[in-house]
């Protein structure tokens, strides 16, 4: 029984990781930039989601506003920060991204205050009991959202013209441009989609913990880097599977090896072991 419960808790945790990390892996696949500030968009989404829900009473509106706003800010970050640096070595963009993330953390603190923000009446907290396991509605929704969003993303990537254009640009930007695909448009779309997903993850985490803080992106910012390496950089399916595996390992690890290994350290211990055995990550990147 405990085994099943820990497994489910791991899936829930892994689902939020997946939705955050997938945006990061998309950006990496396209630009070869480690977009640390992605975690700032996750925090932005969480803040907007809670603030709008508290003001209007509508969670769906909150999620919509959060996703749209984070998507637009994500495109802005690409245009203003990464685009001018694309010709520079990759660490230049990485340093800029880390700086941007720290700046965003402090900006959230200045705007929203240091105490964090909670739902005035948290939605989706109804408890459902399935075979003696208590699950909150928001936990179930976190897993479902993960499946739907990442499934949808995979479908877009495989079956639509936009997806084909995106994959072509990742493989060979110059050749795809010759075939009439505008690489700039592809980049904007990727930043918009990835950032909007991060915002949705932010609102989901806010529902799970009922607390949004300026520093809430700190752990996802580096853990999702571990996840995308595990999943094979730029590989969406790999990211999903790596996230879920990590969530489950963490859930069991917290209980059985938590005495000597911190939960956040488990991700990196796992990463080191995998890279020793298979240096390309669990799943080979494209």
């Amino acid at each position: 029984m405990l085994f099943i419960e820990l497994f489910i808790q791991g899936l829930i945790q892994g689902s939020t990781y997946a939705i955050i990390a997938v945006g990061l892996t998309l950006v990496y696949g396209l630009l070869r930039v480690l977009h640390v500030a992605h975690a700032g968009l996750f925090t932005l989404g969480a803040y907007l989601g809670v603030a709008v829900t508290n003001q209007t009473g509508s969670l769906s509106l909150g999620i919509l506003v959060a996703a749209l706003a984070a998507g637009i800010v994500g495109m802005g970050i690409y245009r203003l920060v990464y685009e001018p640096m694309l010709n520079k070595p990759p660490y230049v963009a990485l340093i800029a991204s880390i700086g941007l993330y720290i700046g965003m953390e402090e900006l959230f603190r200045l705007v929203f205050g240091p105490f964090g923000l909670s739902f005035s009446s948290a939605p989706l907290q109804t408890v459902v009991v399935v075979f003696g396991i208590h699950l909150r509605a928001c936990q179930i929704i976190a897993v479902v959202t993960n499946v739907v969003l990442l499934g949808g993303l995979a479908w877009v990537a495989q079956k639509t013209r936009i997806g084909t254009g995106w994959r072509a640009t990742v493989d060979d930007p110059q050749m795809s441009a010759c075939f009439g695909i505008d690489p700039i448009k592809v980049r904007y779309r990727v930043f918009f989609a990835g950032s909007a997903l991060a915002a949705v993850a932010g609102v989901l985490v806010a529902l799970l913990t009922n607390l949004v803080e300026p520093t809430m992106g700190a752990v996802p910012s580096y853990k999702s880097l571990a996840i995308i390496v595990l999943g094979g950089l730029g590989n969406v399916m790999g990211t999903l599977i790596a996230s879920l595996i990590l969530g489950i390992i963490e859930a069991f690890g917290t209980i059985y090896i938590g005495d000597f290994l911190d939960r956040d350290a488990i991700a990196f211990a796992f990463l080191i072991i995998v890279l020793m055995i298979k240096p390309t990550g669990l799943f080979t990147s494209r």
Partner: protein, 381 residues
């Protein structure tokens, strides 16, 4: 040319006035985490200290001089508090330093104040090593171990619960609470079923909650701050764990109730601020703080307020800004403050009653008081 000379003379005169005014205030140094993960506690403690300064200055200051609070942001990091301590001593020439911060930065700064022989008061940092820095360092709050012992008495004796699961925050705060709790658990007939640890960054406790549920305890002794305890308690309740949850002063904020919502009902904590106190110092502080800050008082605010009052009274009694005289006055002080009566032992630790507060109808209220001088005695060396 003549005009210019006059202007220069005027400038010189005013600049003399300027420094004259500056030395007319008595400077108290204050380090708190104003940015970073602990910024909320930093804001509360700074406002608590500012309230004390305001009250003292409005009442005529100290021996005719106003107090001035020199505030620095230490981000709750030891690496920041060391240069800050040096700056307060060397550049600002503070006569007393106060920490409105966590244990790590306070420990590092304490050594520097001790070396410079300037009194330093820890308002709410609980690590035992802080006062061990030397005879110039004092603490106006409980040691972690002392509060842990009070927690054991609360659970084992007052509530009569015997099967206990511990959920321990993995930092100075949580570890020293756990040490005190375990030390006295047996004396109160408590059987510790299991202990789980979590990091200060954790907000999702799914795995721990699932395991605690299978342990079926009578009570849970969970250390943490409101930003970890809020999510923890609501996740425990949502998963069907109904036993009593006991926390400590880290929970002591209205934000805890805002985060945990209905799940907060019935949670009991050991702390130093009694919301239902009839003592004029406490009641007045609670009222005035809310007026100044715009939100209800919490433990860190009350502790910083107390520490400033201690420093101010010591300066007044010393009738001097000589750090050595001030230190001697602090060591022998007896002051009724917002967090109780402050009197230090030879190590610079206080011994006062532990206030147990319970959440009832979305507010903190008095549950019980532990006044057991033997149980609560801090170490003497």
């Amino acid at each position: 040319m003549k005009k210019l000379r006059w202007v220069l003379v005027l400038c010189f005169t005013f600049s003399c006035f300027g420094t004259g005014w500056a030395s007319d205030t008595i400077k108290i140094g204050f380090n708190a985490p104003l940015t970073g993960f602990a910024a909320s506690d930093g804001k509360s403690s700074t406002l608590g200290a500012k309230l004390a300064i305001k009250q003292i200055n409005e009442a005529g200051g100290i021996n005719g001089k106003n107090l001035e609070l020199i505030v620095y942001d230490d981000q709750a990091k030891a690496s920041q508090s060391i240069p800050i301590a040096n700056k307060m001593i060397g550049q600002d020439k503070v006569v007393v330093g106060i920490s409105g911060s966590y244990s790590a930065p306070t420990r590092s700064a304490a050594g520097i104040f001790q070396e410079a022989k300037i009194p330093y008061i820890s308002a709410y940092a609980i690590h035992p090593d802080i006062t061990k820095a030397g005879d110039y360092v004092f603490r106006t709050s409980f040691l972690g171990e002392v509060q842990g012992r009070a927690g054991a008495k609360l659970i084992g004796e007052i509530l009569g619960k015997k099967r206990v699961v511990m959920i321990t925050l993995k930092n100075d705060f949580g570890k020293s609470l756990a040490a005190g709790f375990k030390e006295k658990a047996k004396d109160f007939g408590i059987h510790i079923v299991n202990e789980y640890e979590y990091s200060i960054k954790d907000r999702q406790f799914g795995a721990i909650v699932a395991k605690v549920k299978s342990d079926k305890p009578d009570a849970i002794y969970a250390s943490g701050y409101y930003f970890t305890a809020g999510p923890l308690v609501s996740q425990l309740r949502a998963s069907g764990v109904t036993c009593t949850v006991i926390g400590q002063e880290g929970y002591d904020s209205d934000k805890f109730i805002a985060i945990a919502g209905k799940a907060a009902e019935g949670v009991i904590i050991t702390t130093s601020l009694d919301r239902d106190s009839k003592a004029p110092e406490t009641a007045d502080f609670i009222r005035e703080f809310e007026k100044l800050a715009g939100y209800p008082a919490d433990m860190v605010a009350a502790s910083a307020h107390t520490a400033v009052k201690v420093a101010a009274l010591a300066i007044k009694q010393a009738n001097s800004t000589d750090p050595e005289k001030i230190r001697d006055e602090i060591a022998g002080i007896s002051l009724k403050a917002s967090t109780g009566t402050i009197e230090f032992n030879s190590l610079g630790e206080v011994s006062k009653n532990v206030q147990n507060q319970i959440v009832k109808n979305g507010e903190w209220h008095r549950h019980s008081v532990i006044s057991d001088p033997k149980l609560l005695a801090p170490p003497e060396k």
